[in-house]
């Protein structure tokens, strides 16, 4: 292995074009770089604008692709204005566009014009988790038979390995209901619930699935994902919600394919 130098080598002379080209790509107040032109030294403002437009619009489109329910809720014009601000403030740091938008929900939470939709950021968080689940590593899921084979007196000591796609998101709003109706193609009626909802996002095979978790079940599954024993996760869930039903939560997690395996059984 060659040793790695602590900082990238300085670009050679004649390699400074990128430094001069990039500031204007995301900042409309920057003028066209002086070192570019059209043929026969024609002005190049509109020519440079093609690049500005390609960069900004393609990244706004990337956000629109990642957050379709958010777009449907806000409408096209609102979404594009909001996305433009975010693209200019926070361009991608990875060449993989499906990694983009991780900071967008927090941006939405701060965005002045979205303050009347306090649940919007959580809907966006579910959408971001949906895409993470979509691209997550493939893997088998824990079967009900594997769990059934564990002697009842050992169940409390079980520790689980989460499936790579599994994500749990908590919201103080009915974010899962809002997400679900806006990701579907049908008409969106009035949403009557105001209850807090948590989402379980999984991908047991190729299709991403999003489920609403009952209060307590989110704490239970979150604890298992974090590596708690079943007993500890269940007792913490009971503190959150006295009516917590461990059997129902276990059925949900098996049905959703939230876990890959029993890691060890105490």
């Amino acid at each position: 292995m060659r040793s790695v130098s602590p900082s990238p080598p300085e670009p050679a002379r004649g390699c400074r074009y990128a430094e001069g080209f990039t500031p204007g790509l995301l900042d409309p107040s920057c003028t066209t770089p002086a070192f570019v032109a059209g043929p026969n030294c024609k002005a190049a403002d509109r020519r440079f604008n093609v690049y500005r437009n390609n960069v900004t619009v393609s990244l706004m489109n990337a956000l629109a692709d990642i957050f379709p329910a958010t777009l449907r809720i806000t409408g096209e014009a609102f979404f594009r204005a909001m996305a433009r601000f975010h693209v200019r403030e926070t361009p991608p740091t990875s060449p993989l566009l499906f990694e983009y938008g991780r900071d967008f929900p927090d941006f939405i939470e701060r965005y002045e014009y979205a303050q009347s939709m306090p649940w919007l950021a959580d809907v966006a968080r579910i959408e971001r988790a949906w895409l993470d689940a979509y691209h997550a590593a493939d893997g088998g899921v824990l079967s009900p038979a594997e769990l059934a084979a564990v002697p009842p007196d050992r169940l409390g000591y079980l520790v689980f390995e989460a499936h790579p796609a599994t994500r749990i998101l908590r919201s103080a709003f009915p974010a899962v209901t809002i997400f679900s109706v806006n990701r579907a193609s049908g008409p969106v009626g009035r949403i009557e619930t105001t209850a807090a909802e948590s989402a379980l996002v999984t991908r047991p095979a190729l299709d991403v699935e999003v489920r609403r978790l009952a209060p307590g079940a989110d704490r239970f599954l979150g604890g298992l994902v974090a590596g708690e024993t079943m007993e500890r996760a269940a007792s913490a869930a009971g503190e959150v919600n006295a009516d917590f039903d461990p059997a129902a939560a276990i059925r949900t997690m098996l049905e959703a394919g939230a876990f890959a395996a029993i890691r060890h059984g105490g």
């Binding site: 074009y17 990039t22 393609s58 361009p91």
Partner: protein
């Protein structure tokens, strides 16, 4: 194209995971997942190839890999990188290069290509194919980057000529001279995007035919065709945009015909990346390309027979 065959001594990859399909003289299309059911249901035994943007398959798993593995069973695949930033001044992103090499290893693509352009600078990824000046300094840097990519994947890449909207005052050589010298230094092959030639020639006021006569056609391993859109520059003159959102223009078909007449049938891709039509429309564009390839294949075959006789 024996140089483009899978590298014979790639260790584990020597045992091929996918069938070896021929790609010589074939037309193909961009692979869009929404077309997969139509492609699989297509009764017509279609031998066309599919090209994918490498970056879309750099996730760990899920539907993208399932779809690509499925299409790779029945068709030749071309792996087209869009974000290596070969034309940038900074060192290549080693992690990205590693992901690219892993895809080459995993899917055994018949063709592997990247762009004469850049898209990353500092920490930001700009998601566009940005232009570079053509100078001794950039020539050296681009050649080093291509050497590094070819070393990492253990095979030759095809480098695509860009569509550009502006020129750099500091450029000291033409694009064709630049490309010719890159081929000489790195041994890479070329992906000739005929639409890009037409777009750049229109935008910069030179003749596309002159460009082609200075371009090293003998090193071409693949051709791209695509649609473009029309805008205006600062002085109201026509400015073409490489939009990939419609059918191939008549002028581009004519240039394609001339190119194939000169260099013989080549794997030819119809690129269509936005406002994507239903599969039959895209397939019809590929068939139009195939008929031109087949017409020239006949005459090139005859020439070969004459030469042998």
């Amino acid at each position: 194209m024996p140089e483009l065959a899978i590298h014979p001594d790639r260790g584990a990859s020597a045992g091929l995971r996918f069938p070896a399909h021929a790609i010589d003289g074939l037309a193909g299309t961009s692979f869009k997942h929404q077309h997969l059911p139509s492609i699989l249901a297509d009764e017509e035994q279609d031998r066309g190839f599919f090209e994918v943007h490498a970056e879309n398959y750099m996730g760990a798993g899920g539907p993208p890999h399932a779809a690509l593995a499925r299409i790779r069973e029945d068709h030749p695949v071309s792996l087209h990188g869009v974000a290596m930033s070969i034309g940038g001044p900074r060192p290549l992103d080693k992690a990205h290069l590693g992901r690219f090499a892993a895809l080459v290893e995993r899917y055994e693509p018949l063709l592997v290509s990247e762009h004469l352009a850049w898209s990353t600078h500092g920490t930001a990824y700009y998601n566009d194919l940005l232009p570079l000046p053509y100078t001794e300094a950039t020539l050296r840097r681009v050649s080093e980057h291509i050497d590094e990519v070819q070393e990492a994947i253990g095979r030759r890449i095809l480098l695509e000529n860009p569509s550009t909207y502006l020129l750099f005052k500091e450029s000291t050589m033409s694009e064709t001279a630049f490309i010719r010298e890159i081929v000489r230094r790195t041994g890479c092959g070329l992906l000739l995007d005929v639409n890009n030639v037409f777009v750049s020639a229109t935008n910069h006021g030179y003749s596309a035919l002159d460009y082609l006569s200075n371009y090293p056609l003998g090193d071409v391993g693949e051709i791209h065709l695509a649609g473009h859109a029309e805008q205006q520059d600062d002085e109201g003159d026509l400015l073409l945009i490489d939009s990939h959102d419609g059918p191939v223009a008549d002028a581009v078909w004519r240039l394609f015909d001339i190119v194939i007449g000169r260099c013989g049938p080549m794997p030819t891709l119809i690129e269509w990346d936005s406002a994507i039509p239903d599969w039959p429309v895209l397939k019809a564009e590929a068939k139009a390309a195939q008929s031109i390839l087949d017409r020239h294949a006949a005459s090139f075959g005859q020439e070969k027979m004459h030469a042998l006789g």
